[in-house]
Subunit: 306 residues, 2 copies
């Protein structure tokens, strides 16, 4: 599956450098190093017709020793890349001279407009920046934790436990019944927008068992023959979307109203039309969502989604 938004960053994460404090210090003293500012989980993006990430130099970090430590993202073309959280500043655009040339848009709104490699870098950065923002304390003892390893772990100052960014696996599945597929609509989504069903993988179950459980819970449909198709990082805040198809063994739908407003079967013709343009009955997710690719692969007869 091609064109998964938030994949393909092109950065070498160079994980062996994360514990190399001297190397990280050198890079942060090098004007060639690129620093991506974040503010309240939004990346800095250049204004203008073709949005691009707006990279700053490490000069941005001067005098910010008390602020969250920058996160080392990786290396490309010999140049180190970091992310820096400026959320402690009330007006960073003015303070750092970005007014009029860049802004902090919601990543979800801008991702499809960014070059794919830049969207992927922003996803990596948002995932880790958000984790730091919400993990300043040790869940084991309640004391303060401190950033280490170039932003890839935190250590408790009291009990010394190391904590690592969490990534939440989510199954998202297109349930197929011959020439029909099952789509659902959450209460917050405007009619006629529908998408594939989805839910978090829980402890003690396989990806396949999670698919079976979630479809039964949300729509009352029994499925079998789960097939993995593709995955997508989804940094809102920390998901790994695991895209699958499954075969329906029953047809009757019983919607769990705490999860979905409605769910229904749609024919391949209905879905094909909605992929071209929303119809009165159906609008499907845009290419930014992995659900779009699951749906498109089925409609276009990709054998791996048979």
């Amino acid at each position: 599956v091609k064109g998964i938004v938030f994949s393909g960053s092109g950065l070498d994460r160079a994980a062996h450098r994360r514990r190399d404090a001297a190397w990280l210090r050198e890079r942060l003293a090098d004007d060639a190093t690129r620093v991506l500012p974040f503010w309240r989980l939004a990346p800095l993006v250049r204004t203008g017709d073709a949005p691009r990430l707006a990279w700053a130099t490490p000069a941005l970090l001067e005098g910010r020793e008390e602020a969250p430590a920058p996160v080392f993202l990786g290396v490309a073309g010999g140049i180190a890349h970091f992310a820096a959280d400026l959320s402690d500043r009330p007006e960073p655009l003015a303070e750092f001279g970005f007014d009029g040339v860049a802004h902090f848009p919601d990543l979800r709104a801008i991702a499809g407009l960014l070059p794919p490699d830049e969207a992927a870098i922003a996803a990596q950065a948002r995932h880790v920046v958000d984790w730091h923002a919400r993990h300043g304390f040790c869940p084991g003892c309640g004391e303060r934790t401190h950033v280490q390893d170039g932003g890839w772990s935190r250590r408790c100052a009291s009990c010394s436990t190391e904590h690592f960014p969490r990534t939440d696996p989510v199954v998202i599945m297109l349930v197929l019944d011959g020439e029909r597929c099952l789509l659902g609509r959450q209460p917050a989504w405007p009619r006629p927008f529908f998408s594939a069903l989805a839910g978090f993988v829980e402890g003690g179950e396989t990806l396949e068992e999670a698919v079976v459980r979630e479809v039964a819970e949300e729509a009352g449909v029994v499925v079998s023959d789960v097939r993995y198709l593709a995955s997508q990082p989804w940094p809102f805040p920390a998901s790994l979307m695991l895209g699958c198809t499954a075969r329906a063994a029953t047809r009757e739908i019983v919607v769990d109203r705490s999860e979905l407003e409605e769910a229904d079967w749609f024919t391949k013709d209905e879905v094909r039309a909605a992929l071209a343009a929303p119809t009165p009955r159906l609008a499907v997710p845009p290419p930014m969502a992995i659900a779009h690719h699951l749906i498109r692969a089925w409609v276009e007869g990709d054998s791996s989604a048979a």
Copy 2:
């Protein structure tokens, strides 16, 4: 892929009951309800020739209102199942009358001997019991959190943030080069034990990108054509193993000594022999590990692991 240990519990998790406090109270007042005791992350198991989980009745929980709340696991045959953490008791076998009839063995040591459905229930329970044991405080503000929703979330008493059990996706991959496969040995593993390479999926990468990155980091080998084969819950403490194959694009191995002691190419004949019995050059993981199934599927020519 059949025979994945820790899958196939047969319990209906009945997630809609987790927020039904009255129903949970009723079940915990019913002598037919089954409670699986845990002690320092080990499940209670009957002693004897054929190990089985040793279920207690809710009477076990009397007088334990200050102890960790029981975790609702699900329903089977109309009977509710819970897990209860007795780690606060110094000698629970004697205190609760289990001496001589049951013990608390390491789940890793006993899992392959338990009936598959019981191993899966124990995995689900261990995953969540462990999470509670290590998440008594809010990572956002450091205050105490309290169990809610039948043990499936915790809420901060101060900032009201809800926290959910984490599940860590891990890629484990058999790298193939025609009739050879790449296996590695961690420093702690005795010679000649080798297994598939593995590592945590990070934020901002697909499952496929995680496979490529981990193989490059650990063994210096470039891979492509990643294919997902099967998954396994691995509650030590909270992993979801995502088993894949990948095709080698380079052959030279450069081992990262911080991860592996050695890595090497093994022929299909060498691996086939080791599956039957350890050889002087190679011992492979037992059927309890998903790596075993990746290796076996390749040796036996399963087309999905081509």
